[in-house]
Amino acid sequence: MTPGPVAPARGAPRRRGLTERVIFLGPGLLYLVVFFLVPLAIIAGISFLERGRFGGIVFAPTLDNFARALDPIYLRVLTSSIGLALVTTILALFLGYLTAWGIARLPRRWRTIALILVVLPFWTNFLIRTYAWIVILNSQGPLNGALVGLGVIAQPLELLYTPGAVVAGLLYAYLPLMILPLYAAIERLDPELREAAANLGATPIRVFLTITLPQTLPGVIIGSIFVFVPSLGNFIVPELLGGGKLIMVGNLIRDQFLKARDWPFGSVLALAVIAALAVLLVVQAQVSRRTATTTAPGA
């Protein structure tokens, strides 16, 4: 036999029978339409309906639910959740950038190990990870114990059930999601560009601002989306580490669906989270397109 079949096979037209398409694509797409797209459509639909007196939904079109989201009480929840999510994202960005940079400088073998170490916590039980912070931040917990023991503070601090505790919990939950896209962006950087700029007399800060940051901007934005959006919708961390004193959008949505039984208003709040995600994804697409064109080889 000659080793012939490979070359002609590649040139031969592919069999693209309709049956094959249906077998491969049909079940998965159908499933995702029914259990992913339809639920999203129902949420969008419900948001324009009235709430029934006993919790159900009345088929009467209205925009009241949207107006209600602008009520000062709810607006305050929205702005404070955005604030907490933003603080978390900025901290994650700062720590994540330096960490990703550090990982990129490790020898290749160690890079893989470091990345696995970063990912591992993300796959562990979320409640357990949050619970760990209840233990740590407790007034008699190890952190207060260490601080008192070292003489940094005289009395244990009230760390639990504060905004800081919520930010710590969210940062702990989502930091890995910031590091991965940043690492992917930093690893692709061309060190010669930085060296050239430095040789031409640019200060390290200038090199960072004019070369490194613009080139890693897509990673910065993806990482920020991965931290910001789930932080906004999280209701476990505010409940367990904020002690119920801090309400975030996630808590509000949960309560509308499971306690107040006001599904239309809960749907409006969920749409707000989706809208935030959509806006950020559009920004990301724009930025990555621009970065791709400005840093294309030969450009």
């Binding site: 398409r21 079940p27 995702l32 949420i43 990912v119 796959w123 917990g141 930091l175 749907s267 989706i274």
Partner: protein
């Protein structure tokens, strides 16, 4: 190779930040006092208590049922979908649909599915959690398998067809074995994620069939419980083993898309 230099400080800080809290739980699980405040000696007692906790055992069984079913369903749907998208589709909107459940915030999927099940008049229970978990599971398997498809040689399948094998034979004797590492990795990840998933299960579950995360939630809401430390240690060990196995199969350190 440039040196790590001062970047060792943030790198070390991140690793400490990620692992010290877990280490505290592991150490506490062997602490006789059962509190994180004082160390009163080594014990395996909390693991014994855990084994006798009926609530946790019921939750564990429910979780294993859901995770096994979700893994099976997701592997079939996700693998077929990945191959279908790779072979026949050049439209990014379908790619977006396939990755959507992996990006959508869990609370949005949770209330959406709850609304769907309510609209259909379905009773809630393990079956509804299972249906819900297959949604993100399918997206995850499809993503992992699709990444692998980018590195496979289609001429093998074509050669098999040219040599007279039927489409079905080619699929089971060429396509599936080629994709096996990615399929197994995807399955392991879905199993892990389903086992730990709380938000969607919380919304789509009935009152009489709590999964393990729901049992944990009801326990941690009332503060520090020593058995949780023991449970946490076991779950951490289990998750680490599964995820590292999955990483080895895909041969990447998490940097791939």
């Amino acid at each position: 190779m440039r040196r790590l230099g001062w970047l060792a400080v943030p790198l070390g800080a991140t690793m400490a930040f990620l692992y010290l809290p877990m280490l505290v739980l592991v150490v506490m699980s062997f602490n006789a006092s059962g509190t994180p405040y004082t160390w009163t000696g080594f014990t395996l007692g909390w693991y014994g208590e855990l084994a006798g906790n009926a609530q946790i055992l019921v939750g564990l069984v429910n979780t294993l049922i859901v995770a096994t079913g979700a893994t099976a369903g997701s592997v079939v749907l996700g693998t077929l979908l990945a191959i279908g998208l790779d072979r026949y589709v050049r439209r990014s909107i379908l790619d977006a649909l396939a990755i959507g459940p992996a990006i959508a915030p869990d609370i949005v999927m949770a209330i959406g599915l709850l609304a769907l099940f309510a609209t259909l008049g379905m009773t809630l229970g393990l079956h509804s959690v299972l249906l819900a978990h297959i949604v993100f599971g399918t997206a995850l398997v499809a993503a992992v398998v699709k990444a692998r498809l980018g590195h496979t040689d289609p001429s093998l399948e074509e050669a098999s067809r040219d040599l007279g094998a039927t489409a079905t034979e080619t699929f089971f004797r060429i396509t599936v074995p080629t994709l096996a590492p990615a399929i197994v990795a995807g399955a392991l990840l879905v199993f892990t994620l389903s086992m730990d998933e709380f938000v969607i299960a919380f919304f789509t579950n009935g009152p009489s069939t709590p999964t393990l995360p729901i049992v944990i939630y009801s326990m941690v809401r009332f503060g520090v419980t020593p058995e949780i430390n023991a449970l946490a240690t076991i779950l951490l060990l289990l998750t680490f083993t599964i995820v590292i196995a999955a990483q080895r199969l895909t041969g990447l350190g998490g940097s791939a898309e």
